[in-house]
């Protein structure tokens, strides 16, 4: 793909997608919960903007709805709910100690290269201007997975989960200009329900296990009998 053959709008889409990738990395190395949530909100905003631009350049009006949905859900509602939870549970002063921060970032880079390799056949096949972004979208999914693995706070894991959904939405956006509307709506509904459930869960975890650090969830394992009466 030769960059000058694209319009400036399409170049802007590439720039935005690179910034989305950057937010994924920023999430990965963010020890403070509120900053993490803010970065996540930024990622949602960037995604919504990307969707709107794709809608504009490729004349797909239904993508405006997806963009709006993303903006409301990912950039506003879910970050707002998470922030509210964090403040309510008084977690905003806690910082996570991220072990091997640099190693994880380098692992993230390796993942990006892996994703590029995996999605090469797709990109060869596609004719869309956004085809080069498919690798980035898969990288977002896998980087979120890395986030869930490397962070120990329940809230961070939820952010990772939601960022993963962001990556999936992104993948659908750039490879096929979005999924059929009914599927998009279904996914949005699922995410909404999931975010409410996560909120309920934080409370339950706090009430019963005292801390939202998932390292303390170690009662169930193959070696320990679970005796209860």
């Amino acid at each position: 793909m030769i960059l000058n053959n694209l319009t400036h709008y399409e170049q802007a889409i590439l720039v935005l997608s690179a910034l989305v990738l950057f937010t994924s990395f920023a999430l990965l190395s963010q020890p403070r919960l509120l900053n993490l949530i803010n970065t996540f909100a930024w990622q949602g905003t960037l995604l919504a903007l990307t969707a709107a631009l794709v809608a504009f350049t490729s004349h797909q009006p239904h993508l405006y709805i997806s963009a709006l949905l993303t903006l409301i859900l990912k950039a506003w509602l879910i970050p707002w709910m998470l922030r509210h939870q964090v403040l309510k549970l008084k977690l905003h002063h806690e910082t996570e100690t991220l072990t091997n921060g640099t190693l994880i970032l380098l692992g993230g880079i390796a993942l990006v290269i892996f994703c590029y390799h995996v999605t090469l056949p797709l990109e060869r096949l596609s004719t869309l201007a956004t085809r080069n972004i498919i690798a980035i979208s898969l990288a977002n999914v896998l980087l979120s997975l890395l986030l869930i693995i490397s962070h120990r706070q329940a809230v961070s894991q939820v952010v990772g989960f939601m960022a993963m959904e962001n990556g999936l939405f992104f993948a659908a956006l750039v490879s096929t200009h979005g999924m059929p509307m009914i599927v998009e709506l279904g996914i949005a509904f699922d995410i909404l329900v999931a975010s409410v459930l996560f909120g309920v869960f934080f409370l339950h975890i706090r009430e019963n296990i005292d801390t939202l650090n998932v390292d303390h969830m170690n009662r169930l394992s193959e070696n320990e009998p679970t005796v209860r009466n």
Binding site: M1, Q11, V15, A18, R124, N132, I136
Partner: protein, 322 residues
């Protein structure tokens, strides 16, 4: 390119201009910082006065110092001026363009660093050794990051020659490149670390626990110190020019026509002053990092440079289509 005496003269003037403006840039940054922090600023010519004052002071040299210690200030200034000489400042069509290579530039800077560290070790004081070890630790992270950032650009232009790269970018017109955003940010962070500015090092303090660069040159005085300080100011400007001319090359003269040269000079001055203001702003907003946090900062810079390179490969080139 057929180069006559005139163009060699132009190259020499450009280098002289470079060396002459460098203290002014430092003065400008200092003045901006003062304004931002509500202090009364020293005049812009203050760095010149400082240099002038140091040149007229007697240079005291420790008894154990070997010839390395004496010769280092000259080597530092010499290599820095050479590095400044190859960098296209106001025009690209110059005879020095043929050696204006990124790797040469990095090599010159590494040579400077090597001799600074050597001289710091030469005296055998605790501070010198500490500063040298810190400097080398940081350098092991900044150098790959810097090369990555510049290679991102080199990959776009398919050359490591700075002049050719600038010409290529100019010929492409205005193109939004995701890789450049990362590369420019990465390069800025590296520039800050390399020139010993906040948040990695603080040029205006001699606090023993935090010094890096200052610890190495603690034993120098008089004209030696003046030479090193001046070299430091030129180095800062080298990074400024690198960022300004590589990523926003518009305005630079591609011919040796006087009007073009005039606009080239004006534009680089404006770009440098804007960059200086940015630096002053960031130094005002940020606090100095603890030394053991510096690797985090630098690995973030490395990450940005790597992302720049990846987004070039993935987003801008992509697979070869069937």
């Amino acid at each position: 390119m057929d180069h006559n005496l005139n163009s060699w003269l132009l190259a020499a003037i450009q280098t002289l201009l470079f060396v002459a403006i460098a203290p002014l840039l430092t003065g400008w940054i200092k003045a901006n910082k003062c304004w931002l922090q509500n202090r009364s600023a020293p005049p812009l010519r203050q760095p010149y006065r400082d240099l002038h004052k140091l040149f007229h002071k007697e240079a005291v040299i420790a008894g154990q110092a070997s010839w390395i210690f004496r010769v280092t200030p000259y080597i530092i200034l010499g290599t820095t001026v050479l590095a400044a000489g190859i960098l296209p400042l106001i025009a690209t069509d110059l005879p020095t363009a043929s050696i204006a290579d990124v790797i040469v530039l990095v090599g010159f800077l590494a040579l400077t660093r090597f001799f600074t560290a050597l001289a710091a070790l030469d005296i055998g004081t605790a501070f010198g050794g500490m500063g040298a070890s810190r400097e080398m630790t940081l350098a092991s992270l900044t150098e790959p990051a810097m090369l990555m950032a510049v290679f991102t650009l080199a990959m776009t232009a398919s050359t490591t020659n700075l002049s050719t790269a600038i010409d290529f970018i100019l010929s492409q017109g205005f193109v939004l490149r995701p890789s450049f955003i990362f590369a420019i940010l990465g390069l800025m962070m590296i520039a800050i670390a390399e020139t010993g500015r906040i948040p990695i090092d603080n040029p205006s303090t001699h606090l023993e626990l935090t010094m890096v660069h200052e610890a190495m040159i603690l034993e120098y005085s008089g004209r030696h110190l003046a030479l090193i300080e001046w070299a430091g100011q030129i180095k800062l400007m080298i990074y400024g020019v690198l960022i300004a001319n590589l990523f926003i090359p518009w305005g630079i003269a591609t011919t040796s026509h006087p009007t073009a040269l005039f606009w080239g000079t004006i534009s680089i001055l404006i770009k440098l002053f804007i960059l200086g203001t940015f630096l002053a702003l960031s130094e005002t907003l940020l606090a100095k990092l603890r030394l053991f946090k510096a690797p985090d900062y630098l690995s973030f810079a490395l990450l940005l440079s790597l992302l720049g390179m990846l987004s070039h490969v993935i987003l801008e080139v992509g697979p070869l289509t069937k």
